[in-house]
């Protein structure tokens, strides 16, 4: 079985397990909605200034809700020693990581695509005007979030304070990607196109994703096997 086929099998297994139990996706969705609602207590949701910071708000919601899904990525394999079985299986660590990252990516993207219309309605934001570009930013930002989150999930799966350590590890590393995603999303949800000034952010996000995907694939075996 080829590398990508193995990763595909792992991703399909994770998605199937998640869609049957819905344990991470339900809590993540509910959490996203609660934060979106709580932001409206902090400032006037219909003020113009709120629309200017909309990109930042959205990505804070996505990052918080995303860690709930990412926490489960490797922790799902702990009962019945499934993780040991997966490591012992004739599948490379990189394929295991890629499969898990792809499954988490689809789940986080799903949560985002549900939260986005709710956000648009609550805060009166014209998010549909630049939807293809917005989708590109969502895909790039979410891939960065899931790659760093999945490798952190592999690191923290067997350690103390797992749920606390994952966001502590993930958010500082994600600073460049989240900053870029926030800048671009703020422009796009305001209904403006990505200008030449903002194009650099897009390139930076592609670079971030490429660097961390490559390094994670190279080092994940060390994390899993030791």
């Amino acid at each position: 079985m080829g590398f990508f086929r193995q990763a595909g099998v792992i991703a399909a297994k994770d998605l199937r397990a998640e869609l049957r139990t819905k344990e991470a996706i339900n809590s993540s969705l509910a959490f996203a909605l609660v934060i979106l609602l709580m932001f409206s207590f902090a400032f006037d949701p219909l003020a113009d200034t709120t629309r200017e910071i909309a990109g930042g708000l959205l990505w804070i919601v996505f990052a918080f809700a995303g860690t709930l899904i990412l926490n489960r990525s490797f922790a799902r394999e702990l009962p019945n020693d499934c993780l040991d079985g997966l490591i012992a299986a004739p599948v490379s660590g990189a394929a295991l990581f890629l499969g898990k990252a792809c499954a988490s990516f689809l789940l986080v993207l799903g949560v985002q695509l549900v939260s986005l219309p709710v956000f648009g309605i609550f805060y009166d934001v014209p998010w549909t005007r630049q939807f293809p570009e917005l989708l590109l930013v969502l895909v790039l930002g979410t891939w960065g979030l899931t790659v760093v989150g999945t490798i952190s999930s592999a690191l923290t799966v067997n350690i103390r304070l797992r749920e606390l350590m994952l966001p502590m590890l993930t958010y500082p590393i994600l600073f460049p990607a989240l900053l870029g995603a926030m800048q671009l999303t703020a422009t796009l949800v305001a209904g403006n196109a990505i200008g030449p000034d903002e194009f650099g952010w897009l390139k930076m996000m592609v670079g971030f994703d490429a660097i961390y995907t490559a390094v994670s694939l190279a080092l994940v075996e060390t994390i899993l096997v030791g």
Partner: protein
């Protein structure tokens, strides 16, 4: 507090040297699995955190002298703070893992991740707040200060690494009965 303007650059540069040492030691561990490299990486990360914290605090004094505010979201200081948070996760990760070789491997991988992020953090912070950054000008007094700080930081790191080495022995003795 006027002389603070002299300090933040050499302090930051010493932290950068410690980061380079931590990266080299982490790669060394991943290649050789020699726990001495792990002790060195641990010590270099601690030195880095101390010097970077001092650099951020002295930078705050400089901003306060110039604008009356302690924190103005200056690009370089913000980048330094993010880098400090990045490397502060390494000791936390070490604390959470019990088994020494696993702890060393995890910390080494995370150090590599953190070091790769540093140029991206510095560049994105500069794009985020264009034209708003503390000046970096190398003058002779600052070079001398860097040399003096390196003379302090080097032996400090070696001493910390040695302490980690000597601690490992009783730790391994304590673990042996558990392993049996």
């Amino acid at each position: 507090m006027g002389e603070m303007v002299l300090y933040y650059i050499p302090l930051g540069a010493t932290a950068a040297l410690a980061a380079a040492a931590a990266l080299a030691a982490s790669i060394g561990y991943l290649r050789t699995r020699n726990l001495r490299f792990d002790s060195l990486a641990r010590a270099a990360t601690e030195t880095l955190l101390a010097f970077l914290a001092a650099s951020i605090v002295s930078g705050c004094f400089v901003t306060h002298a110039a604008s009356g505010k302690w924190w103005t979201w200056d690009a370089r200081l913000t980048a330094a703070l993010v880098c400090w948070l990045l490397f502060a996760t390494c000791p936390m990760l070490r604390q959470a893992v019990e088994e020494p070789s696993r702890r060393a491997a995890f910390a080494a991988v995370w150090s590599v991740f953190a070091c790769l992020d540093v140029p991206l953090v510095v560049a994105t912070a500069a794009w985020w707040k264009p034209g708003k950054a503390l000046a970096i000008e190398w003058t002779w007094p600052r070079f001398w200060l860097l040399a003096a700080m390196a003379v302090v930081a080097g032996p400090l790191t070696v001493a910390r690494a040695r302490r980690a080495e000597t601690r490992r022995e009783p730790d391994s003795l304590r673990r042996t009965p558990h392993a049996m």
